[in-house]
Symmetry: C2
Subunit: 492 residues, 2 copies
């Protein structure tokens, strides 16, 4: 095979395959959450499933996460109901649709909203444990083994006007952070029990396609040998996003390079490129999730963010990722979070996130001077904010009443949240266009025969940085990974 030209950008033509090294019904590429769920569901239909993973073990970027899943609807999970919330499917639907931004995928949102609760039950049936508990404070991720948290902008404007607020972030019962590894360990166990054959240290090199780009298999490389794997029914690409491929990020989402910390493992874009090599369309490639963990403690939400012109730009009670997305849109690197003596507390991730104190003073004029901001800019912003906050109103940005408090008690503090210094992390949200079934489609939305994708290789539920909520990506990976596995296995 060594003289045959193929790559992640160029499929190996079917006619050039002299022999199949191995055959299966479904071949899954990538052993993160999406790949695990795809393989599991495909195997359970009775299909012979091969899973190839470039790394030495399962996990992918899913294992780096908190393991949180965004679920609800149909009246709510046990945790939501115990905490006193009912969650209507239409509220989940409306929230997800708004969260998807101007190119939200209505069909995926509909399917997920309708089946979210059952999907959560499925995860539990796989053995993923969730404690029936709720943390009402606004946090990033439980440091305990607790489950339910407010993980998005549900209570914040404009989301709260479109959908009745309900917490929907469900974290596995795992002590401390890092529940993603636990989630992946459970799923890995199930994949093994289901009889899926897993090849580690095996990289997908090229798809094998016929003259009309129908996919028949995959060329993989392991131990420096290329092998041709035949997929009788389909190949499912679950190889992550492209955040670690910095050239791709620069060409598709250059604005996110202001954030210097990519979150990923491999995520080299190869899944997306493989899909494009047979005519799959990659969409929404400029969108990324970006965040700085500037809260907890939640009292910091009572502060206000200003840019280097002393202007506010967001209701600070939004999810940290939405706030950070707006920070990234500001001209200039200097961003300050203003607090007073009553609201200030050291940010819980302050040291980790490199959030320091930029200035402190007895008056905002003094802080403004110390920050070398344009004279009067900060002072007039705070005056306007305080005047309205005193009567429980934020006419500019509609921050919720419970977070409104005039910032007047000295010492007054400006926390330093500079874009070029602080820990703004990011990952990509663009990827292959797919149907809710996981079928990869071309630019005219016609399926590419034999090709499926899920997880961040696809453009799924989460596709707008300003709408992302914690748990959305794993929800999408697991749910739509399952759909892709089922659909591929059932292909005639």
């Amino acid at each position: 095979m060594s003289d045959i030209a193929y790559s992640r950008n160029l499929p190996c033509r079917l006619g050039l395959v002299s022999r199949w090294d191995q055959e299966a019904d479904v071949i899954v590429v990538g052993f993160g959450a999406a790949g695990a769920c795809a393989a599991l569901e495909a195997a359970r239909t009775g299909a012979k499933v091969l899973l190839v993973e470039g790394g030495a073990g399962s996990g992918g970027t899913s294992a780096l996460s908190g393991g949180e899943i965004y679920v609800g609807g149909n009246g709510g999970t046990a945790m939501q109901r115990s905490a006193g919330f009912s969650d209507a499917t239409e509220d989940l639907y409306n929230y997800l649709l708004l969260s998807g931004g101007p190119n939200a995928d209505e069909a995926k949102v509909r399917l997920y909203a309708d089946h979210s609760l059952r999907h959560f039950e499925w995860l539990q049936a796989q053995g993923v444990k969730y404690k029936n508990s709720f943390i009402p404070q606004r946090i990033v991720e439980p440091a305990t083994d607790d489950c339910l948290i407010w993980s998005g902008s549900e209570e914040a404007w404009p989301f709260c006007e479109q959908a009745k607020p309900c917490p929907r972030g469900h974290t596995p019962q795992w002590m401390g952070m890092g529940g993603g590894r636990y989630l992946m360990d459970v799923l890995t166990q199930r994949v093994q029990e289901a009889g899926v054959e897993v090849h580690y240290n095996t990289r997908a090199v090229a798809l094998i396609a016929d003259d009309v780009n129908a996919v028949h298999g995959l060329v993989v490389r392991g131990d420096n040998v290329d092998r041709c794997l035949r997929a009788h029914k389909g190949v499912v690409l679950c190889a992550g996003g492209f955040v670690m491929n910095r050239d791709m990020v620069r060409r598709h989402a250059p604005q996110v390079l202001r954030s210097q910390f990519p979150i990923g493992t491999v995520d080299d874009g190869s899944g997306i490129l493989l899909g494009q090599s047979v005519g799959g369309a990659a969409i929404n490639m400029a969108e990324c999730f970006v965040t700085l963990p500037w809260y907890p403690p939640e009292s910091l939400i009572k502060g206000i963010f200003v840019n280097e012109r002393g202007q506010r730009f967001i209701n600070e009670d939004c999810y940290h990722g939405r706030v950070s997305q707006h920070i990234m849109q500001q001209a200039g690197n200097r961003i300050f979070l203003l607090q007073d003596q009553e609201t200030y507390a050291e940010p819980e991730f302050g040291q980790f996130a490199k959030i320091g104190i930029a200035a402190a003073g007895e008056t905002w004029a003094e802080v403004e001077r110390d920050l070398d901001l344009p004279a009067g800019a900060l002072v007039s912003t705070v005056e306007l904010y305080n005047r309205n906050a005193a009567v429980g109103s934020d006419p500019l940005f509609h921050k919720g009443r419970k977070w409104l408090k005039p910032l007047t008690a000295p010492p007054l503090v400006a926390l330093d949240c500079r874009i070029d210094i602080c820990f703004y992390s990011h990952f990509t949200l663009g990827g292959l266009d797919t149907l809710p079934t996981g079928e990869v489609v071309d630019a005219d939305r016609r399926p590419v025969p034999g090709l499926y994708a899920a997880g961040r290789t696809a453009c799924g539920l989460p596709r707008w940085g300003a709408g992302y909520s914690s748990g959305m990506s794993l929800a999408d990976c697991t749910f739509f990974g399952r759909q892709a596995g089922i659909q591929a296995a059932r292909r005639a």
Copy 2:
């Protein structure tokens, strides 16, 4: 051929071509400015050139434009020098590089800056006439037959700090607007004289490629018949952008749909899709040019823009497109341009652009109330602006001193520049990734053999809405169209 599967997303495989209906060295797709220049230069090397155009005549979207070309460097054109400007190549280079945004193509910028002056001479040698005249006022496009104008943000911050300001917009000697049609008529004449065979009403349906995606020709459709055209050396895609393909815009650049007026003719994305069908990478697909022609007269530049929170967001002396790009980033549709009695004049394109008067009053508090803006928001913004403008300074946005004037003389006016009502027009800036030679490259920047692209089918010099200047797209189309034609014709 009717039973063979091919489309703009799927190349026709070489082995399936039973006979060639016509053969040429170079086949150019699209008869706008890029295609005309590519065909012309290819033909002049002695190559046999076919040009296929979907429409009934030449012109494309170039013919809709003002015909303006962004040129300079090497000391300046005759018009620049007569107007008292010298233009160093490095200033042109620095301006173009900054204008290209975070993913500027340094190699293209370098080549263009070095050869811009000679390219302008080449255009003149083709017969395009330019008057030796300069309009110093800030306008959108000459209504006369004059040539040189300030067509970008050269004098505005931050551009003025990176490159010595010089006007570089050169408009053909054509009375009134619409010099693009004139430009295309001249180029069309030259194309015909050069012996290029032009097929009108002939649509490119699919590329013809071998098993490794090297391009050998093109399937075209005319009179409902598909024909196979062989290209011995190469196919040059100059088929415009994708602004008229609203599905593609939604999937790649959904944010621009806030602007309701696409500028284009065909621009259905087929050039980009054809390139992708053989492994060409499309990059920067989210970027668009957007503009509202809110000046002239230039006195309006002395006003200030505010969003519906009463906040300023840009130095108003930037190019109208850069200002409009920042308008599009504001939350909410309501955008106001504030003027006082001394700066106000009816916008020249006010009626066309649907810019009306939203409110007028004796005090800004009155205007603020009439606009139903948050109490104190507009007033504090104007107070801060006026205080600084009175001493010739704009510490927030660095607007140039000559445009600074406190807005205090009643009646005070708020012009209505609502995003959802006014004439914000747009076109796309993303496209196929190419080398400066016009060679289309894949995601790893390896050339696709036999494939070239130019104009808005490619991602060229202009690739950042916030950096675009009038004349950049035609400069790119004509210059890099030429490079692509030459390179294709010289291919071994």
